[in-house]
Symmetry: none
DNA sequence: AATGAATGAGGCTTCATTCAT
DNA sequence: GATGAATGAAGCCTCATTCAT
């Protein structure tokens, strides 16, 4: 369910009625997804509840069965998005012990996802800008990785809060560039490399680590079934 | 005049009637300054033209003698702000030949100014977010300094556009932290140091350069009176 | 329902709640009738949408659930009025074969109605002036009668379009006189007589035909109950 | 001066400064002519004093040196137009004794002028619609001609007021057709013929009289310079 | 739950009018 | 007289919110 947000298509009937049970939750989900699309198109400020109802194919007043204010909508989308991100990053970083690598994986996943799905990118940028909660979730993950990396001797920053600001704002700035159409080969790795350097990783290490392949997870959202997750070997 | 934007106080009568003629220009200036204050308080999206009128102490309809839309207001504020910034940075960096130092001066001036005047900081963050023109002006300055630093052997980034993104977004992110109340000693230097490191400056040089004193200019906006303030000597 | 427009009284509660459902249609009707009354009082140009809301006893914003612009209001009133007129004239002229007589009946009905109900008259004059659609509807009826009259040897005009202009503009001019307070015995017949003469009917015939009694229809809007009501006998 | 209204070109400097004296009156004249053009373009209701100032190439506030309200502007244009019309018709009808012919000349002059100068036509239609004074002036002329024609045995109408309504409203209706683009050969004569018939002139006489040539007057507005051209005889 | 008509506060915009220069 | 900036009333329009069905 968390992954539905990245589907930018208006919900088709097949999406809308999967499973059959939980009818109530479906309307809510439709609203959250509709809000997400509107955020992507026009930003958070421009969401009108009227328009949200229309985008979700429900009546005007139905919105109020789920959200009291525009704030509530943002909250719901932010939480949904944070959950989704947590889920993904957790999945992918499972088994990666290297703190510096974990940071690059986080940065690069955001960038690659924004590259593949600019609508998702736009929406995330917008929500991030307005929703404290989402920032907290990301911050929590990041802080852990920074501390791990420091413990491991990779990072030499003087202040952790500033280090977090650098990582987060650079990543968002780079996402914005992507969404605005910048096209640079290996963009994700180049950005990650500079982030590592800012954190004090020597340039050669930064270059190497930021280019390591990102572990792949099966589409089925399962936390890597069976075996050594390493990277998926061809055979 | 360009500096007036940083005066966040509502115009006093002494400001209002200087000279006597040029009333039109004064009203326009009052509107631009009022808009700036509102941007600082509530962001760009929240500016309502009738509120602008009230803040500037003019009648509702008067606004329309100067601006047709909210966009126009942003444009005017953006241009004013860009001029002001250009002016200041040009003044301060005069005579600094070291590209790395010039970059730190730019970054630190933004941060220090935002620290001293959080209203100014908030407004700049908001305008930056929405106004392409302002971004262009800053980008132009920055690009020159990056190229100088590269030529001088300070920087080792792989892609200039990404380097610019890192510098700009980190600076804005740090300003946001400041405005939200973060209080860290030597904040400006610490941020500047990480920026230099991201650009490939070795950690020891980054630490030193980012802590050099910022050249002071007389308040009278004159282009460096007396002598060539030379460049900061090594020791 | 079509006849409601001629009731110029603000809707009473009995009118307002008939049936119970169909509330939307009732609001729309209330708005159309309110617009009609305002047209009568102040002309088409002077209709303000907020005044319309007040006159119809609905909230300001409700108007916009039905009409996007003042033009749309005029359109709705024009169509309603055209329907109403078609209905009436069709009813009354049923069974009249004489083209000249049909023309006089049309002219005289407009005049008599304006005489009895000056509010109706004013509104019709205004709407006619601005609404092409209404003119077309009237023109369609009139053209048929003119051709019938010509075929029957009553009319001797040289150009049908000019003949229509004469009939229509004379009728409207005469309505205007009535609304402005002119009071002349047999006004309707005198005007109709001159119209027939303009169309080439000899003065004696014109005098006679324009004074024939107008067929009465039952108030119940039914398309001639019982019997053929025949045509008005010669004497 | 009265003829200037029919010049639809914005006043050129040559027009604006003729003679050199009467500078004050020139501004007023410029305003009246500008109003006339706006009436032609958008109708009487749509005249905004702002726009009037712009059209007349004077400042906003200058309008108020001449007119207190929009009503006053209409009044001034109406009077100007009435004077102009009186002047012309008087000139042309000089020496025509036949009341029926005089009526046709009036009708046809309006139509021919509207045909040659649709801007003039539009403006006259608009002003006529709103300005009682203009109607009175026209009525005064017309009434005289009707009475003359009646005395001479041409007309057989039963009520003079109705007869006037027929003549005036038919003429205006026909002008409207012209302005809307109707194009019929001999339009002016055909309309005049029907008007005469409405007044009781036998069809053959009506046809003949309505086709008589209209006396020409020299462009120089002088009451027939040089030669006889049938000058008004004393008795 | 869902609906959607109705509401009315609030922001937008025009323009007649005033007034100091 | 002419100017044009300033004014503010008045009308336009949107949209968050309520509520009866």
């Amino acid at each position: 369910m968390a992954e539905e947000l990245s589907s930018i298509h208006p919900p088709t009937s097949s999406e809308t009625l999967t499973r059959g049970h939980k009818k109530k939750a479906r309307t809510r989900q439709a609203l959250v997804e509709a809000a997400f699309r509107i955020y992507a198109r026009k930003g958070v400020d421009a969401l009108a509840l009227n328009e949200l109802a229309e985008e979700a194919h429900v009546a005007n007043g139905t919105v109020y069965n789920y959200f009291r204010t525009r704030e509530d909508v943002l909250e719901a989308v932010g939480i949904e998005l944070a959950n989704q991100l947590s889920h993904r990053v957790t999945l992918v970083s499972q088994g990666i012990e290297n703190g510096a690598q974990r940071v690059t994986i986080g940065v690069r996943m955001f960038l690659l996802h924004a590259q593949e799905d600019p609508v998702w990118g736009s929406a995330v940028i917008s929500v991030f800008h307005y929703h404290k909660g989402m920032r907290s979730v990301v911050a929590a993950y990041l802080r852990g990785d920074l501390q791990t990396g420091t413990r491991q001797g990779y990072f030499r920053y003087l202040n952790e809060d500033i280090a977090m600001t650098v990582v987060v704002s650079t990543t968002l700035g780079a996402m914005t560039s992507l969404v605005e159409g910048v096209s640079i080969p290996q963009f994700d790795s180049l950005v990650a490399e500079m982030v590592l350097m800012a954190l004090g990783v020597p340039i050669e290490d930064a270059a190497r680590i930021s280019r390591l392949p990102i572990p792949q997870v099966s589409e089925s959202e399962q936390p890597t079934p069976v075996k050594p997750r390493g990277r998926p070997r061809k055979h």
